[in-house]
Symmetry: C2
Subunit: 329 residues, 2 copies
């Protein structure tokens, strides 16, 4: 009862920022992302009757503590759906998401774990069912089930059964690129989980954030459908700025930005003034991701490689959804 799956990380263009239910991981707004070819996790789950507990290896190293707990709690969900409460697994994961790039490896990690785990135990889940399962491991991971652009529909039901991602446009629809601008100073004082919670609980801007999402989503989906890069980029950049604005109103206030973050943002705006369409987006950390079109890749890479405080620029194309590797079972 063994299966291997590969899942890519994704970058949110309309951000997931705020939970309405912490334990079920139900969001306060829809979000929309682009799955990225360059960053992925490959995971093998092997259920064996002989095992008496789960074990988890990441990049060949045995993992204990909180990371192990999150994996085994997630396998509990799979066991429950399959009605096999006493079947344990050995999990081997390999992360191809450089930590320095500032992407959450939890997105590709939980998508690959959900895919490999559910297949290994004999479940045949539809994509939206797999996405819904994945969501309960890591919210934004539910979008990584699909290639290209995907939307996480927040849902309205209390049990979260209608909260999962749906495909918007697959990876071959449009070659939009993303450059991860890696900064030298990467300390992150407030985790995304805590930052989100503090913002929901204390920021006077949280309601304005939530209320502004439907218009952003409508506009970015029009932009994707029309392959209108300026429109998609402008909405994504504005949405990211709104997300980060909410943290400045929290009590106590905080920001994920440092001086280099702002320097990269200013450089993106300068590129636009020079006629190069480029837009930024920033998650819950100081790194910046730059959206651009393939014909401007050299210009983008050269511009940011030489910016003081930037240590690396890692580019990516749109990526596929979850794939399975056939192996001997």
């Amino acid at each position: 009862m063994k299966a291997t799956a590969k899942a890519h990380t994704n970058i949110a263009l309309i951000k997931y920022w705020g939970k309405r239910n912490d334990s079920l991981i139900l969001p306060t707004n829809n979000s929309l992302s682009l799955t990225l070819d360059g960053f992925y996790t490959e995971t093998t789950v092997d259920f064996q009757d002989s095992l008496t507990e789960d074990s988890f290896f990441l990049n060949k190293e045995k993992i204990n503590g909180i990371a192990y707990e999150r994996v085994t709690l997630f396998l509990d969900l799979i066991r429950k759906i399959a009605d096999k409460p006493n079947l344990f697994a050995t999990v081997h994961s390999t992360n191809h998401v450089p930590t320095a790039a500032g992407f959450a490896s939890s997105a590709s990690g939980f998508a690959a774990l959900a895919a490999a785990g559910s297949k290994a135990i004999g479940l045949q889940l539809a994509d939206h069912e797999l996405s819904r399962l994945t969501r309960q491991g890591s919210g934004s991971a539910c979008r990584s089930i699909y290639g290209g652009f995907a939307e996480w529909q927040q849902g309205t039901l209390e049990d979260g059964s209608d909260s999962y991602a749906v495909p918007i446009a697959e990876q071959n629809f449009w070659d939009v690129r993303v450059a991860a601008i890696v900064l030298s100073a990467k300390e992150k004082k407030v985790s995304s989980r805590e930052g989100m919670k503090r913002t929901v609980d204390t920021s006077p801007f949280f309601k304005g954030w939530v209320d502004s999402i439907p218009a952003d989503l409508r506009e970015i989906k029009q932009g994707i459908e029309a392959r209108d890069f300026e429109k998609v980029g402008a909405v994504a950049e504005a949405n990211c700025l709104k997300m980060h604005a909410t943290t400045l109103g929290a009590a106590p206030p905080f920001t994920y930005w440092n001086d280099i973050t702002v320097s990269v943002m200013q450089t993106v705006q300068k590129l636009r003034e020079e006629g190069i369409p480029a837009y930024f987006t920033i998650d819950a950390g100081p790194n910046v991701k730059v959206l651009y079109l393939p014909e401007n890749e050299d210009k983008i890479v050269n511009t940011f490689r030489h910016l003081p405080g930037v240590t690396d620029v890692i580019v990516s194309k749109p990526g596929r959804g979850v794939t399975y590797t056939t192996e001997d079972e």
Copy 2:
């Protein structure tokens, strides 16, 4: 019919950000400021029956254009109150507000003009009447009538007659210092007037900003009364961050910050971690003002003088309200 008055600029600790009436300059929230000794304008207004129009000299240079228009429109208000519609004046102003410091010289400028102009024409205005008049030249100038801490009460009447500043604590009550951190890059792409308007009209965060003001005001006034520097500083810093957050939600979004602005903000936070109480506030531009106590002045000046991107540090004590210079008439 000649009078000379001197008025100091002020730094808002609870920001004025948003108008409910553009022409009367009526705000959407109360604001609170500290008048600063280091930066002032001295203005002489000389009404003469023989004149057929106003003239305005700034730092001995004759001024035309928009700046002249603002002065003569303001003198119209004074002439109207005094019922002397055909009496014109020569105005001489000297600004002791270095442009580079990023303080609005309009605050000290209009306070001095209102004081000298109303006295020269023979009006005897109470402080709140002078503040109300001053407000119509430049909103934040209405707080510069008073020394020390002053609060601009937004008022509720449509004609603005109850919108003026009142004293909170005079300049000798508490020696809180302000260092203006002057940055090398000072370009400001969005004027405060336009930024305010765009924010009011388009930012989903504007309501949250306005709603959060009463609690900030209550807390900062408690802090001033108790001479609790940490409390006053923390509220001022949080209020400034909220004001700047609102601009990130505007359409199109904008910010007054650059990379050095954020670097100064981070340095202030580092000082606090080292046990030096220091807090920042930022107006509609990239420069940062740092609040500190007299015993830490050397540490503050040395820290920021050596920060890359900072060209100067200008310190100030609390300043007096409007004063008049006796001259031959």
